[in-house]
């Protein structure tokens, strides 16, 4: 039986896959970054379809910022003249294709053959989800959340430290 949810799921799934494919096919950097944004938004939509509303909205919001930053970096490094030159920056093509296909086949095999037990249809309301997720974060997995926070902090500091140019320290 095909439900709306299934249809939506398939549509957005295909959109995500197409955008994912576009990322590596386009020649222009910005276009690949934004297509990645597109696939991420599709994934966010998938979350919404699967009624994980908070996660969906969060995904859409977060990815927007991140992908735009990525776009900026792409331009900085690639000196891409606006997607006009069609250069192909990939190597060991067939190995990666083989690997990609092999992994996909394996995972789909696992998915198809494993029996997943009963499918739950009912899901708590979004408001309830938010509350429970909040509880979860601040009660049981407070530890994980805190460590995530700390890791972000360290990540920031590390990246800044790495990114700072050595030249300036030498001149002083």
């Amino acid at each position: 039986m095909i439900s709306i949810q299934l249809i939506l799921l398939i549509i957005f799934g295909l959109v995500a896959i197409w955008f994912g494919w576009r990322v590596f096919m386009t020649s222009s950097m910005v276009r690949s970054a934004l297509s990645l944004l597109g696939s991420m938004v599709a994934i966010g939509a998938l979350f919404l379809v699967m009624e994980a509303e908070f996660l969906g909205v969060l995904q859409i919001m977060m990815m927007g910022t991140e992908m735009s930053i990525m776009a900026v970096f792409m331009m900085m490094y690639m000196m891409d003249p606006g997607g006009l030159g069609n250069m192909d920056m990939s190597h060991q093509k067939n190995l990666s294709i083989a690997a990609g296909v092999a992994v996909t086949v394996l995972i789909t095999g696992a998915v198809l053959f494993a029996d997943w037990g009963t499918i739950v249809t009912q899901v708590p309301s979004p408001h309830e989800q938010n509350r429970l997720l909040g509880m979860e974060i601040l009660k049981r997995s407070m530890m994980i959340f805190e460590t995530a926070g700390v890791t972000i902090l360290t990540g920031m500091i590390a990246s800044i430290a790495v990114a700072l140019s050595i030249k300036s320290s030498r001149e002083k």
Binding site: L6, V23, L36, L46, A52, M70, G100, P124, L132
Partner: protein, 102 residues
Amino acid sequence: MELLITALIIAAILFGIGLYGALSQTNLVMIMMGIELMLGAAMVNLVAFWRYLHPEAFSIQMFVLVAMTVMALEGAVGFAIATQRFRTSGSVEMEESAELKG
């Protein structure tokens, strides 16, 4: 049952594409994009499991949040390294950075 399977298959395909991207691209940023895509596929998997198997276990959603932080962090650090690479060797292509060999 089909819902779960379709979601998982979509995630698997996304993962495959991401993997292909990561392996095939020469550019560091492109490799990072591949990795981001793979992480996105993983998140789809997680949400699918949460939605269809254990809606009451919110640790899965917690895990998705952690995955998001991982994506963000990975991006940040990757760009830092990329800037250093760019600053030292002028380009971010992976071929030129072979001098790290043992």
